[in-house]
């Protein structure tokens, strides 16, 4: 398409000046944007109020759509439950019988564990939940993996609280608004989670790769101890994420660790539980020395 004629301003002084002014404004605007960017790089929480405003304004639509999505999923699920209902029923009854026995054993073990911990005077971190919400949207077009939670300060959600789903750890809260909060998912590159292997407690930490997977690196480097299929759970180190939350399954070995697929899939989790930080007092003390905003969190 040919450029419009007003680009050539001719002999009119007024037209020439106004064209010149638009260029000046464009350059100045670019510089202003660069300055804003510098501010937000130096202080990442600086413009959170504006971002939260945007999320709050669009949240009602997201809520409605996600509700509709969930109910259609529920409908398809209940229809598919009718297929092979009889054989499914038989297998489920068998499984139930087996797991009932296992459950009784686990309960006995838990009582014994509590008694032994009591003897040793070990203090346990609390795993109290703050509130239950849903994930209503995510930053699907950015390299950052952040999801929006349907509840905010109105339910007592605060910054630096871990969030988990029924299947496993989802992430932690980084910004809160009155009725929404933003959750940094475990698949974000900045989210480092202290984890361990479920079978033997091998300590490791996980970093997101930004593509739905996490990279799990053992703390003591050397030979790579992971096997495909290993179950990774959180270790509770660092005092933010609670211990023993299901985290990921190893799907491939890499040169210095393993590639894990997180159990909690933000797209499919029916609800998200916001929990209190695992060892809140210890963490508060640590934050007094080295606050999150000023120093980068390294393997909490």
């Amino acid at each position: 398409m040919a450029p419009p004629p007003h680009r050539r301003s001719g002999f009119s002084r007024k037209a020439q000046y106004s064209l010149f002014v638009t260029y000046v404004v464009a350059i100045a605007g670019t510089i202003v944007a660069a300055l804003l960017l510098t501010i937000s790089v130096v202080d990442p929480a600086g413009f959170s109020a504006l971002r939260i405003l945007g999320t709050e304004v669009t949240a009602p639509v997201a809520r409605v759509v996600s509700k509709a999505q969930q109910s259609t999923q529920a409908i398809t699920h209940s229809i598919s439950a009718y297929i092979n209902a009889a054989s499914k029923n038989v297998t489920l009854e068998k499984e139930l019988k087996a797991s009932r026995n296992a459950f009784i054993e686990v309960r006995a073990l838990r009582i014994e564990n509590d008694r032994l911990r009591g003897l040793l005077n070990l203090s346990d971190g609390d795993m109290q939940q703050v509130a239950v919400g849903r994930l209503i949207s995510s930053t699907a077009s950015s390299t950052r993996r952040i999801a929006t939670l349907s509840i905010g300060r109105n339910f007592g959600v605060e910054r630096a609280q871990p969030v988990r789903g029924p299947a496993g750890l989802i992430g932690r809260v980084i910004e809160t608004g009155p009725t929404t909060a933003r959750v940094l998912l475990v698949t974000d590159s900045e989210n480092l989670v202290p984890v361990m292997r479920a079978s033997d407690g091998l300590p490791a930490f996980s970093a997101g790769l930004g593509n739905g997977f996490v990279l799990i690196k053992p703390l003591n480097l050397g030979e790579n101890p992971f096997k495909v299929g290993d179950i990774i759970i959180t270790s509770g180190n660092g005092g933010l994420y609670g211990a023993n939350i299901p985290f990921a399954r190893v799907i491939r070995k890499t040169s210095d660790g393993a590639l894990g697929l997180p159990f909690a899939d933000p797209a499919n989790t029916p609800y998200a539980i916001v929990m209190k930080p695992y060892l809140e007092e210890a963490r508060t003390e640590q934050q007094m020395l080295a606050p999150d905003g000023e120093t980068k969190e390294v393997a909490e």
Binding site: V25, L37, F47, S138, S141, T143, E190, G210, N211
Partner: protein, 184 residues
């Protein structure tokens, strides 16, 4: 015939089919607000409950913005990349100011191209848009990497391809909107 303002009587206004077909004017509000609203709404697509493992959703705001710019040169003022970009930053999850800077630079680049090349055809538009989309996405990745830890640049590859392939569709949506906007 144009009806003078004083003569408009709302209850007895003739139906559209009996009005003059000549010399009608399009609605000013529709003409001005349609492009602006379309870009802002396209930026807001990220707030819908779409979950992807990696960055996969094309930056619809940018696609809409570029296709208006390339389809109707002179519609956006040269500085318009800044406000639209800052608006997009509110919803994209990037550090605030990143799209404001990148969209504005994209706008200036299109302006330079327009001042050199007099005529552009559809394929050349697509090529320009493809290069700009790639540059903006990689720029966004780089900026996010300065502010926070960033993943490998390869995670952007599917998104770049998808965005480039979706550009023609967005141009067509723009053209439809444009026809509706200028209709009398």
């Amino acid at each position: 015939m144009k009806i003078p303002v004083s003569a408009i009587r709302l209850p007895n206004r003739p139906g559209r089919e009996y009005k003059s077909r000549f010399d009608r004017e399009q609605s000013m509000l529709r003409m001005l607000a349609t492009p602006i609203a379309s870009v802002i709404l396209a930026s807001m697509v990220t707030t819908l409950p779409v979950f992807s493992a990696g960055p996969l959703l094309p930056p619809f705001g940018l696609l809409m913005f570029l296709s208006w710019r390339l389809m109707r040169p002179g519609l956006w003022p040269i500085w318009s990349g800044v406000p639209f970009g800052l608006m997009d930053d509110l919803f994209s999850g990037q550090p605030f100011g990143s799209a404001g800077l990148l969209w504005s630079l994209a706008m200036l680049i299109v302006e330079i191209i327009d001042s050199r090349a007099i005529w552009r055809d559809y394929l050349r538009d697509w090529l320009i848009a493809a290069l700009l989309i790639m540059a903006v996405l990689l720029g966004g990745w780089w900026i996010a990497g300065i502010a926070h830890a960033a993943p490998e640049p390869m995670v952007l590859f599917p998104q770049i391809i998808l965005s480039i392939l979706l550009y023609p569709l967005v141009v067509r949506i723009c053209a439809r909107l444009d026809r509706w906007r200028l209709a009398t």
